[in-house]
């Protein structure tokens, strides 16, 4: 029993604005119907209520969108950088203006807490456009030669975990560098991308510079295999990333991939435990653990294991799971039935393989897709829950004795996206950071993002960087 109960503090669903009953694609500046008849449904995962129907993009739809982007490329790439930049500044400002609407819409479509869409996703989306807007007329100073040129038409396929933020990560640098895009949002979260199309119209963005087509993996496969595109940017599973890399093999098309992870969050015995526990909780329960860089493997020094586990369990007991639109909610709904099944399968495997499972007492809503925050202790490096990306609110705890052992265990994965280090000793932070084979390392913090900070993985977590000066390279012919 909590000391104080929270009264419900729901954000208004109406703030999401009008959600149409059916959506087509956004091609060449217009909302158009699909050439096919197949429609998919997007639901609110916290209630399983259908929000809207949207088109399953066909090959003919992809053709139209790519043709529109190709046509627009000539004039968009010829536009002075300063003018391209001003369009992006406009977009950034309109996103700020409409951020409440977009935050609510994102929460409804995705299931993530309004606290996060409001305070993390939307501010970062606007900041990302603002950051790359400023690059558009400064590209010759970015270190990629004196006359950097755009690549052409970029095919961009994004995941469902940060729908609008991933859109921003893809579209902002592509447009700043003079490319045009065809973007496909994930089939469980198309609504904010379609709303973004309206923002492109409000900003007066020339037709065909941004095209949005919806659909599932079949549409994505048609888009990434399209002969008329020049580049693919993909964020999603390692398996699909491999398939795209095979599709582009032997061509001249460019590819950037941001894929899975199994990050180690490493806690040393000198770390301030309460602070570390906040970082552990943020690392794995932020966004229901639907985060490719989630700190899903806790490596804790043996001597403080019991203390850390006690404090962690105490803290987990205070996490509030439930209505994503409630401003007090810490953990929202699992994005889809399929993802919930995946989490259930892997956690069952964790128990079957002998790890010890624990969740706080926590009442879950009867409708919708939910999973209580869960921690596994006594995990061995060979367990599936220590090797496979769960992509849910599930933490696997392993122990170590020496820094060398921590590094060896942390790097013992085909992934290499992120890592965390918790210690008071500065020289140890730097030593650890230099040994960890991961693209982003957080020391005494976790899950921090910024448009100026490059993000991306080593090894099978993908290649290329998004964000920062480095993020320009993926969209420049260098």
């Amino acid at each position: 029993m909590a000391l104080f109960d929270y009264a419900p503090a729901p954000e208004s669903r109406a703030a999401a604005g009008d959600i149409a009953s059916t959506y087509g694609h956004f091609i060449d500046g217009e909302f158009v119907e699909s050439t096919g008849s197949e429609a998919l449904k997007t639901i609110d995962p916290s209630t399983e209520e259908v929000l809207a129907e949207f088109a399953q993009g066909t090959e003919a739809d992809v053709d139209r969108a790519v043709a529109a982007a190709r046509k627009a490329f000539t004039s968009w790439s010829a536009l002075p950088g300063a003018e391209r930049g001003k369009y992006l500044f406009r977009i950034a400002r309109i996103i700020q203006e409409r951020s409440r609407e977009l935050a609510v819409l994102e929460s409804i479509d995705n299931g993530k807490p309004i606290k996060e869409t409001r305070d993390v996703d939307l501010p970062l989306v606007a900041a990302h456009f603002f950051y790359y807007a400023g690059w558009a007329d400064k590209l010759e100073f970015a270190g990629y030669g004196s006359n950097p040129r755009p690549v052409g038409v970029a095919a961009q396929v994004i995941p469902w975990n940060f729908p609008l933020l991933m859109l921003a990560w893809k579209i902002a640098p592509a447009l700043a560098t003079g490319n045009t895009v065809v973007l496909k949002p994930a089939e469980t979260t198309p609504l904010t991308a379609l709303r973004f199309a309206e923002i492109c119209r409000q900003a007066g963005l020339p037709k065909g510079v941004v095209n949005i087509i919806t659909g599932d993996g079949r549409t994505g496969a048609a888009l990434t295999a399209h002969p008329e595109i020049d580049k693919v940017a993909f964020t999603g599973s390692t398996e699909v990333g491999r398939a795209i890399a095979r599709t582009l093999a032997g061509t001249t098309k460019r590819l950037s991939l941001e894929l899975g992870g199994k990050a180690a969050n490493i806690v040393f015995d000198d770390a301030p435990i309460d602070q570390a526990v906040e970082g552990i909780v943020d690392g794995i329960f932020f966004n229901q653990g639907h985060v490719c860089c989630a700190g899903s493997r806790l490596l804790v020094q043996e001597s403080v294991h019991d203390d850390v586990m006690d404090a962690l369990k105490r803290r987990m007991s205070t996490l509030r799971v439930g209505d994503p639109l409630d401003k007090n909610t810490d953990i929202g709904a699992i994005n889809s039935a399929a993802q919930l099944a995946r989490i259930q399968e892997l956690t069952a495997a964790g128990e079957a393989e002998g790890a010890e499972r624990w969740s706080p007492a926590c009442e879950l809503p009867s409708a919708g897709y939910w999973f209580a925050p869960t921690v596994f202790s006594n995990v061995s490096a060979t367990h599936r829950i220590a090797r496979e990306e769960i992509f849910g609110p599930v933490l696997s705890v392993l122990t170590f004795r020496t820094p060398e052992e921590a590094v060896a265990k942390a790097n013992n994965t085909p992934y290499g996206l992120s890592a965390g280090i918790w210690t008071e000793k500065g020289s140890r932070i730097l030593w650890m950071a230099s040994k960890l084979r991961a693209g982003v390392v957080w020391s005494n913090t976790f899950n921090k993002f910024d448009p100026t900070s490059p993000f991306g993985g080593y090894k099978e977590s993908g290649y290329g960087r998004e964000g920062g000066r480095h993020g320009l390279e993926a969209y420049l012919d260098v």
Binding site: R242, G250, S443, T445, T452, S453, E460, R469, H470
Partner: protein, 301 residues
């Protein structure tokens, strides 16, 4: 006292061998193949026919060497590459002969190509402690954090050495290999099958330059055996396909890239077959096999 008789003296031929883990083994297959004069077609030497197994051994050696080489100071790596330039300079005449025979050139035309190879090593020797300063970044994040991006080597790089283009046999090889190792990667190189002698001899230069064993491994033999082994090897992190010439089959870019996708290797695509390797290199190759690591440090009292 009679004058000494002038006896016929036989040249001592060199047995060309692979360069793996800092040693000069024969191919585990025991096989060799004939290398001929590019122009006359006359026999020059027997080169070892490196196999898939030789290639896997070389990958193991490269992996073993990676920790030490990537952890060496940039200054140290630069000195070693400069030392390699010194050693190459000292064997200039030998390489002029090998390059001339490999590429069908006169000694006069081969000489500047060898000189350019020496100079290219010097160019990359000087880059080792500067690359982080052009590829790294301090990032002004909107919060109380010190945020720094630094380049790190990708890992073990499989290199298909140039097989054509002006200066390919030594200058081309040095041009693709030096940037890989200058940045702290280790390499396994599939040498040009028709012109492996300058490459095999390069092992002798590297072995006397304080380069730790396994940092560079040189395999001669059929590209169809060596390159696919590198492309499908799970402990290879990246592929440099500069020298790929086949349009189809197992040694084509499409096949190799397809195999590389299984472990998401970084791939540098083939260079034009008529590329002039005397072209000034720029920084493209230097920046290819790097990973950007970004570290966040909170600021506070």
């Amino acid at each position: 006292m009679s004058e000494p008789t002038t006896a016929l003296r036989l040249d001592v031929y060199k047995t060309y061998k692979l360069f793996v883990g800092g040693k000069f083994p024969r191919s585990e297959s025991g096989r060799v193949y004939e290398v001929t004069d590019r122009k006359s077609g006359e026999w020059l030497a027997n080169a070892p026919q490196g196999t898939r197994k030789d290639t896997r051994d070389a990958v193991s050696a490269a992996r073993k060497a990676f920790g030490g080489w990537s952890g060496a100071t940039a200054y140290n790596r630069g000195q070693i590459l400069y030392r390699a330039a010194e050693m190459l300079q000292g064997r200039r005449e030998q390489y002029i002969a090998e390059v001339a025979l490999s590429e069908g050139l006169t000694a006069k035309k081969a000489a500047p190509l060898v000189d350019a190879a020496v100079d290219r090593l010097v160019w990359y020797a000087g880059w080792t402690d500067k690359v982080a300063q052009i590829a790294g970044n301090a990032n002004p994040v909107a919060g109380p954090y010190f945020n720094l991006s630094t380049p790190e080597p990708t890992g073990v790089v499989g290199v298909v050495a140039p097989q054509s283009g002006h200066g390919f046999s030594l200058l081309g090889l040095v041009s693709v290999l030096a940037p890989v190792v200058a940045t702290g990667n280790t390499a396994v190189v599939a040498l040009a099958p028709g012109a492996p002698l300058p490459g095999l001899s390069l092992g002798e230069v590297l072995a006397t330059s304080d380069l730790p064993g396994g940092v560079v491994n040189l395999i001669s033999g059929r590209t169809e055996d060596i390159a696919p082994t590198l492309a499908s090897h799970a402990d290879v992190n990246a592929l440099d396909l500069s020298g790929v010439v086949a349009d189809e089959g197992p040694a084509s870019a499409k096949s190799l890239e397809t195999a590389a996708a299984d472990t998401l290797k970084r791939v540098l695509r083939p260079e034009s077959a008529s590329y002039d390797w005397t072209t000034a290199p720029g920084t493209d190759r230097l920046l290819t096999f790097l990973e950007t690591k970004t570290v966040w440090h909170p600021m506070g009292m």
